[in-house]
């Protein structure tokens, strides 16, 4: 049974440091993750670095969970990048800007593997 959250994304220092190095391991470790409040981590029964499936109406990805006291209960924060954006609608409501923040999402614990960036991009082909 998943937990419903409000998904947002944004920049982090390590994500920025790897803007020109997105195929690196450091970028993967930093960006393929989801920050949650302790209460939400407990609700999901996940510990830090365990995998979670984040699902919206537009897609789903597996990322590592991370506890973050600064993230309020009910909010999930993902560093901006291919994993967060796989969950975003392309619809801009006529304004040119997709809804990158404030997306209804469901999170559940999973044993599935986090896709590396090359594997994730493969899912768009074919």
């Amino acid at each position: 049974m998943g937990t419903k959250v409000n998904l947002i994304s944004g920049r982090t220092t390590v994500q920025g440091r790897n803007l020109d190095s997105k195929m690196s391991e450091e970028y993967f470790e930093e960006v393929a993750r989801c920050d949650l409040n302790k209460a939400d981590m407990d609700k999901l029964g996940v510990a830090a670095d365990e995998s979670v499936k984040v699902k919206t109406s537009y897609g789903e990805v597996i990322v590592k969970a991370k506890e973050d006291a600064g993230t309020p209960e009910g909010i999930a924060f993902m560093p901006m990048g291919p994993w967060a954006n796989a969950l975003v609608s392309g619809d801009t409501h006529g304004a040119g800007m997709p809804s990158y923040k404030g997306i209804d999402a469901e999170i559940e614990k999973t044993g599935d593997k986090v896709l590396h960036v090359k594997e994730l991009m493969q899912t768009y082909m074919g």
């Binding site: 409000n6 947002i8 944004g10 920049r11 982090t12 220092t13 920025g16 440091r17 790897n18 803007l19 020109d20 190095s21 997105k22 195929m23 690196s24 537009y58 897609g59 973050d68 006291a69 600064g70 993230t71 309020p72 909010i75 924060f77 901006m80 990048g81 291919p82 954006n85 796989a86 969950l87 975003v88 609608s89 392309g90 619809d91 801009t92 409501h93 006529g94 304004a95 040119g96 800007m97 997709p98 809804s99 990158y100 923040k101 404030g102 960036v117 090359k118 994730l120 991009m121 493969q122 768009y124 082909m125």
Partner: protein, 434 residues
Amino acid sequence: MVEVTDVVCSLCGCVCDDIVVEVEDNKVTKVKRGACSVGKSKLMGHNRIKSPAIRVNGELKDCSYDEAIKKAAEILAASRRPLLYGWSSTVCEADKVGVELAEELGAVMDNTASVCHGPSVLAIQDVGLPSCTLGEVKNRADVIIYWGANPAEAHANHMKRYSYVSKGFWTEEGKKAKKLVVVDVRATKTSKMADVFLQLDQGKDYLIFSALRAILYGHEDVVPDEVGGVSKKDLLETAEMMKGAKFGATFFGMGVTHTGARHNNIVNAIQLTRAAHTHTKFTITPMRGHYNVAGINQVCTWETGFPFAVDLTRGYAWYNPGELSATDLLIRQECDAALIIASDPGAHFPGESIKHLAKIPVIQIDPFPNPTTEFADVVFPAAVSGVEAEGNVYRMDNIPIRLRKLIDSEYPEDEEILKRILDEVRAIKEKGGK
């Protein structure tokens, strides 16, 4: 070893221009001072795209620049609705050739503003922008507001060089004599420094701008006890802080542009700045992300009349964000080829838009491999602007600054690659190709 001073950083919209590096054997060997960790990482370099390449049977095969230019020009000349996208992590000189190429092709020209501060551009076109240079902020501002922005992580030198932590002509005491207000959904490294942290409910920015406007216009009686997760007490304290400023400066980020009301949020933020003008001096500035996203908006505007999302298929410029922005074009599956330069839609576009981009022929010009490279069909490695190539860029406050060249490159500059593609497209057209 040579020490190079006044190096300009080509990473974020801060465009720090006081960096000192050491260069030895045509390599940047040390960043001595001035750069944040993100800028330092850029200056020290990363893995590169090694050779031009063309995708054959699903695999990128190395080729010569001549072969890649020919292939790219053939794709673009044969396209009925090409999209030319990116332009923010390169110099204005390259952007100018990009507009010429878009005119020649009858293409849609869009840049990364459309997924960053595009809503800010729309709001500014609607109600104007009472702004100032970052130098004015440094020398005058004693109340700083960061709204939906986390500069401690995303623009790490911003506070130190220009705002809360900087010391200027009339702000010689630095942060001791300044107030910092942070408005964000999450507690961040920036909010931890704040005198007042307004932790709002996600997406409620518009309500809070409106409540603060009401208070500044003397109508606090209409404001309820809580607005968007923020107490009236905190709103009153913030309004008092704004009123008491000698000079206030608001900076806003993608926490506002990416959320719900989009450009309407920014219109309200600008109107809040105007409300503050009934009490004191106040300015507002978008925290632009890429080092030259402000520059492509400048170049695109002076060449076509519009800053982004410009359609040149009619033979004259047609502007309509929401229809002609890259993500919209892609979800409608309208474009049949794309040239991507100095940006990475593979990482930063919604998955729904990437699906179409992955299907059509894509030409990529970039120094570094990235998710877009995974589906690009023609790839050009380019020199790194600000390290291996010089040129003009515009800082987030629209101040032009010239990037310096620190070392020689084995790769051509973006401008040269674009000019060669443009020449080849013209040659194909002269021969009677599409």
